[in-house]
């Protein structure tokens, strides 16, 4: 569904490329995560999928990026936005300001696309039900919490029936309650069959939900694979990404001989618990 082939990009103002030789594939219906230190190129990657790079930015663009078979650089942005939805970091900035209730805010995209009224109403009500926000329908988007606003942003994109949803650090400005709301919304997105690319620092979230992680380091992909593998990689610290705390605990325990040497480091809470139970039972799993 999403294909990057040897993609290299430099911003018009910058000298050095921000992304170099990116090869990345996301299968249809997949849920992939992109992690990396600040400045590694994660947002640039997200924008390259959504098409704002190159269409809104210019810059030096080499290689190929395609979404659902359509080459991004060759497809006009108005068409791309119907295929790729984008959710950004700041909840407040994504409220259009054009509409005064949540229901109308969600419908805004469909209105701009000229969708017929009855179908629009059906789709809006369906999306609100799927994401559990039907109760917010008549409220002002500006009166919602950050988490609620982000779920409305997800709904506003989902209602346009995109093939892909790209989220660029959607929970980084939210409190844990708000972040949980967005995670639940992503569950609904997944169930609807939309392909998801999630750029985030929230490793635990990715551990539980993502099929594949891509680790960006200084503009290049340093590793990609299932969370269980990538999150356990010892190089994550030097890559500036870090690991979930229980993975760290297991790594330290292994050094002290308290984690079975041939057992993979855990990426999820469940795997960590299983591993540590074994450690205590067999007294460190040695001999």
């Amino acid at each position: 569904m999403i294909v990057f082939e040897d993609f290299t990009y430099a911003y018009p103002t910058g000298s050095a490329p921000v992304l170099r030789g990116i090869d990345l594939v996301v299968e249809e219906g997949g849920f992939h995560g992109v992690v990396g230190a600040s400045g590694a190129g994660k947002s640039t990657l997200a924008m390259a999928v959504a098409g704002f790079i190159p269409h809104a930015q210019g810059g030096e663009y080499a290689g190929r990026v395609a979404v659902g078979g359509a080459v991004v650089a060759d497809t006009p942005l108005p068409e791309l936005v119907t295929r790729v939805g984008l959710v950004q970091q700041n909840p407040f900035d994504q409220i259009s300001g054009a509409r005064f209730t949540v229901r109308e805010e969600i419908a805004f995209g469909l209105e701009n696309l000229g969708v017929e009224r009855e179908e629009m109403a059906r789709r809006v009500d369906a999306v609100m039900a799927d994401l559990g926000i039907a109760g917010l329908a008549d409220r002002s988007p500006y009166a919602l919490s950050g988490g609620q606003q982000q779920v409305v942003a997800v709904a506003s994109m989902l209602v346009m029936r995109p093939e892909v949803l790209v989220l660029d650090e959607p929970t980084s400005q939210l409190d844990p309650g708000g972040a949980r709301m967005v995670v639940e919304a992503l569950g609904a997105v997944r169930r609807s069959g939309v392909t998801v690319l999630l750029v985030t620092h929230a490793l635990e979230l990715l551990a539980e939900h993502a099929d594949t992680l891509h680790v960006l380091v200084d503009g290049e992909i340093a590793a990609q694979g299932p969370p269980a593998e990538t999150l356990a990689d010892d190089r994550m610290e030097e890559w500036g990404v870090g690991r979930p705390r229980y993975t760290e605990a297991a790594a330290r325990a292994r050094r002290d001989g308290l984690w079975e040497a041939d057992r993979a480091l855990p990426a999820t809470l469940g795997a960590a618990a299983a591993g540590f139970r074994a450690a205590v039972r067999t007294e460190g799993g040695r001999r």
Partner: protein, 261 residues
């Protein structure tokens, strides 16, 4: 219900339920009539017989009076002072105050202008008190207002209050770094505030960048003609009434010019 720059508080009177375009037509009609007819009593009559009763009927009388007079009061003072004392010759002098003279014509002119202002402000306030901003925007768009203009109005209403909050936050942040905002005279204080425009604009610019990406993602400005989710109720009777009001106003002006009224 909406937050932001809005005085609307909800309500269910006949006036509330009218299509906003009908109310706009009312505003246009009374303004045309008030400004077009050359008479002191005409605008007074329009206000007393149409605008004020409209507010009372809608049940927003108290807020109406507070808002209208609150808005007009500063202008009234200036108006009467200026026109009253500086009306050009010739004129019937009532009172002499040194080089300036209070003339009847001046007072009459000031009075007429004041009453015309009263009608205009009153009609607009009546519209805003009885119309949900969202409904107003929808109705205007359905009547043909370009989406981009409607957007600017709606977004300004909803986003400007956040500016006030931001400006406050910025001021507090600088005080928290030891900037004493109370020291010095007005000029010194003003000068100190100028660099603070920076963060406000910087924040606004970043917001604008992000929001324009979000708007693009929602296909704003797409080639197709936009549709609308909510239909604002209208009727043939209202449509007829709109034309009737405008025609009546124009007729009044015409008759007045011809010397009949």
């Amino acid at each position: 219900m909406s937050t932001g720059l809005s005085v609307y508080r909800g309500g269910d009177s006949f006036v509330h339920r009218l299509n906003p375009v009908t109310k706009l037509a009312f505003v246009a009609a009374v303004v045309i009539a008030a400004f077009g007819v050359d008479s002191l009593w005409w605008p007074a009559l329009l206000f007393a017989a149409l605008v004020l009763p409209g507010a009372l009927w809608a049940g927003v009388g108290r807020r109406f009076v507070l808002l209208v007079f609150g808005l007009i009061a500063p202008f009234l003072v200036i108006l009467f002072l200026l026109q009253g004392l500086t009306y050009p010759d010739p004129g019937t002098v009532l009172l002499e105050l040194g080089p300036l003279a209070v003339k009847t014509e001046g007072l009459l002119f000031a009075g007429t202008t004041a009453l015309r202002l009263l009608v205009m402000v009153g009609a607009f306030v009546l519209l805003l008190l009885t119309t949900d901003p969202g409904t107003l925007m929808s109705a205007m768009q359905q009547a043909g207002l370009p989406p981009k203009i409607a957007y600017v109005v709606a977004a300004t209403m909803q986003i400007v209050p956040s500016f006030q909050a931001r400006a406050n936050a910025i001021l507090q942040a600088q005080q928290a770094r030891g900037m004493d905002t109370s020291a010095g005279g007005a000029l010194a204080r003003g000068r100190r505030l100028i660099p603070l425009m920076g963060p406000l604009l910087l924040g606004a610019l970043t917001d604008v960048e992000n929001r324009s990406i979000a708007m693009e993602s929602r296909a704003f400005g797409a080639a197709t003609r936009p549709t609308a989710l909510t239909v604002v109720p209208d009727s043939a009777a209202q449509r007829a009434a709109r034309w009737a009001m405008i025609l009546a106003a124009v007729a009044a002006v015409a008759l007045n010019t011809l010397g009949v009224l």
